[in-house]
């Protein structure tokens, strides 16, 4: 029997809730902390297939570190981790205000995602190279890059290492394992794979870490990176930071509301797993495992960091116009700073009083760096980058046509 064909209709993914709705994460399945197994370093992608659908979690709701992924991080290491995350949060807070005060044009914060970059950085070695997006400033903070240098860049002042050429926070810090950030999303992913291939070609011991957001996994750069990483067994850790939102587009769009971002790795035979991105200990353990794999010549690992973008996409964005009110508070994985603090208190190594005291000290530290940066200048006052610098470093040696144009511009 023939039926008349029915008119087709287009399916457009939409999130479960939008402004006006009650925030709803009931579809979001969260395994218990400690439940996920820890595969051998040389486990095949196939043998750990399930891990792309689960979530590695270490800190339980009482702040206890449980399960096979719980490492023996010392109290000092944990305190350092807490300090890095608090520094990043305080830094972001000051720079948001600075942007509102007109001292710079634009800013992007890491609010809610501090554990991802801060913990990951501590699993790397000096000499390794990150290819970050704009929301991994914690790699610099935890890597010991001077905050004032970051501010000099944000302010495009006379000591901006990028000489006023880049938008705020598109840092570059080779000596700190931080590749120059592009504003074009996704391009860095395949470059990270190439850098890692270079290290392997040279017989080096360094590894690369690639970073991308949930939304940008749709870009072809992501897929090219996966093909190359898998073909050449590149010593690279492939990170997908799933913070639920690509500006106003929910993460279901980029993954077609099917499977997970980690599961993208299966088609390429890349061992893939998900981690609780708001759990400092879990991120550190998974990062260490993946970095060890890369360093041992076992090839790439795909890590989906499950987290939540607690703030706006940027200072030009107002998330209340597309996200349900209170969604951030309803986010079931909590706040990374709170969770590590609770863990330290549970260990008897920290207290609420010391937390409050640390907050004040850290804010003073950030203010001091800010004062020093502003003493040089901001985008709108003091000493700024020279316009002569527009013409420099387009090429190693300035070609005649640029010499001519620079002269014409009056420099």
């Amino acid at each position: 029997m023939h039926k008349d064909p029915q008119p087709l209709s287009l399916h457009v993914p939409e999130p479960g809730c939008r402004p006006g709705d009650a925030p709803d994460f009931s579809d979001f399945i969260i395994p218990k902390a400690g439940e996920a197994r820890k595969p051998a370093l040389d486990a095949s992608a196939q043998s750990m297939r399930d891990m792309a659908f689960s979530i590695v979690r270490v800190l339980n709701k009482d702040g206890k570190a449980v399960g096979p992924w719980a490492e023996n991080l010392s109290v000092d290491q944990l305190k350092t981790g807490l300090r890095h995350m608090m520094l990043l949060r305080a830094f972001d807070a000051r720079m948001l205000i600075a942007q509102r005060q007109g001292k710079t044009s634009f800013y992007m914060q890491s609010l809610g995602e501090e554990a991802v970059s801060c913990a990951f950085r501590m699993a790397l070695k000096n000499g390794d190279m990150n290819f970050p997006t704009y929301r991994q400033s914690g790699l610099l903070i935890a890597g010991g890059y001077p905050m004032q240098m970051m501010m000099n860049q944000i302010y495009s002042n006379a000591q901006d290492p990028l000489k006023g050429r880049q938008m705020p926070i598109l840092y570059s810090a080779k000596d700190y394992g931080y590749f120059s950030i592009s504003g074009n999303l996704g391009t860095q992913y395949i470059q990270a794979v190439g850098w890692a291939m270079g290290s392997a070609i040279a017989g080096d011991t360094k590894i690369a870490a690639a970073w991308i957001g949930d939304g940008s996994t749709s870009a072809s750069d992501f897929h090219a990176a996966m093909v190359f990483a898998s073909a050449y067994h590149a010593p690279v850790v492939l990170n997908v930071v799933n913070n639920q939102w690509a500006i106003s587009t929910f993460q279901g769009m980029a993954r077609g509301e099917a499977a997970t971002f980690a599961a993208r790795g299966h088609g390429f035979g890349i061992p893939s797993l998900r981690v609780d991105g708001n759990d400092y200990l879990a991120v550190h353990a998974v990062a260490k495992w993946a970095a060890d794999r890369a360093r041992a010549g076992l090839g790439p690992t795909l890590i989906e960091h499950v987290t939540y973008r607690a703030g706006g996409h940027s200072t030009s964005d107002d998330p209340s116009s597309y996200r349900a009110k209170g969604e951030g508070h309803a986010w079931p994985l909590g706040d990374p700073i709170e969770r590590l603090k609770t863990h330290l208190i549970m260990l008897g190594a920290w207290s609420e009083e010391r937390q409050t005291q640390a907050e004040t000290e850290i804010m003073d530290e950030v203010r001091e760096a800010q004062k020093a940066a502003e003493a040089i200048g901001t985008l709108t006052s003091g000493k700024s980058s020279s316009s002569r610098d527009i013409f420099e470093e387009v090429y190693a040696e300035m070609p005649p046509h640029l010499v001519k144009q620079r002269k014409e511009a009056g420099y």
Binding site: S172, G194, M197
Partner: protein, 336 residues
């Protein structure tokens, strides 16, 4: 030693890899097979799989990974199988390779050569015949090189590999085996029987940014590059006009001194390229000549180019700006 352009390019790779173990060569079919045009033949066998290897079919992947490798400290020389296939890599070339030094304040650099066979004359239709040079010359931070003979191809490629910045290296594929002058119905003289096929075996470089006057003349200056260097010579000879023919060799940086000196001497300028006319590199040359040589010009600057259409298959010779079209335009310019 007499070499074809293919052999000269292969030889340049060989010498560069021998001289510097940071030089790595990769692309589609370039490893075991040595490239569809054989420009990388024997390199994998000689230098090993980690220095010359095949890639997945992903131009984005080839260029993107090469940028990462260059940032690491290697000197990648990559092949795009046909220039027509480069577009998936365009974002990586334009937004990344070209800008890395500038945007990072010199923190990271991108010493990278992207080679690709370009141009028509092989019945390649619209996907194997394009001349996309102006898509690269328009981008700050790139250098664009187009050789017209084996001798230059070797010297320019070695200079490109030595260069600390990204270089787009377009190889007119119709010239791989001989100096094609546009007379498609006649056999070409193979490079092995041509003086410009005489290539020194030693390592040498031909500086980027230096044009060559391939034929001195007094009546009109022809600015050209690639395959059209030979077509222009045929056209001038057939028109019986004493043209001075300049092979630009490098489009960026451009040898404006040689161009200006010649046009000021002849007072006329004809620009010849295969690429489409509108916003082609000829437009830049034309603007340059009129602004720097205006008071010396006795006729309007004229362009002889491909039509502003996709490159056709069966109608190739009506599209290709052959010697007849060059001759006709030369005569027209001389009548002014």
């Amino acid at each position: 030693m007499r070499m074809t352009m293919i052999e000269a390019i292969q030889n340049a790779h060989d010498l560069a890899m021998g001289a510097d173990d940071k030089v790595v060569v990769f692309g589609e079919d370039v490893g075991f097979f040595g490239g569809v045009f054989r420009c990388t033949a024997g390199l994998q066998e000689k230098y090993g799989k980690s220095r010359c290897f095949d890639t997945p079919i992903s131009e984005l992947g080839i260029v993107g990974s090469a940028i990462g490798m260059a940032a690491y400290g290697l000197k990648p020389v990559v092949e795009i199988q046909f220039a027509d296939y480069v577009y998936p890599a365009y974002d990586q070339i334009v937004s990344e390779a070209a800008r890395l030094r500038h945007r990072s304040g010199g923190d990271f650099t991108c010493p990278l050569v992207i080679r690709m066979p370009s141009g028509g004359g092989i019945y390649g239709g619209q996907t194997h015949s394009q001349s996309p040079e102006s898509l690269f010359t328009h981008v700050a931070g790139l250098k664009t090189v187009i050789p017209s003979n084996p001798k230059d191809a070797k010297g320019l490629l070695l200079a490109a590999i030595e260069d600390p910045d990204p270089v787009i290296f377009l190889e007119p594929k119709r010239l791989y085996n001989g100096p094609f002058d546009g007379h498609h119905d006649k056999p070409i003289v193979p490079w092995k029987k041509h003086d410009l096929g005489d290539v020194a075996e030693d390592y040498y470089t031909t500086p980027l940014g230096k044009a060559e006057i391939v034929r001195a003349g007094s009546e009109v200056t022809i600015l050209t590059y690639g395959t059209m260097v030979h077509v222009a010579q045929a056209g001038a000879t057939e028109a019986g006009i004493d043209a001075e023919i300049i092979d630009l060799r490098t489009l960026i940086p451009l040898d404006t001194d040689t161009i200006e000196a010649s046009v000021k001497k002849t007072g006329r300028c004809v620009i010849v390229h295969e690429a489409t006319k509108t916003c082609g590199f000829g437009a830049e040359l034309s603007a340059l000549v009129q602004s720097s040589c205006f008071f010396y010009l006795e006729a309007p600057v004229t362009r002889v180019t491909g039509w502003d259409t996709p490159y056709p298959h069966a109608q190739e010779w009506d599209y290709f700006p052959g010697p007849a079209r060059v001759a006709q335009n030369l005569k027209k310019v001389m009548e002014v």
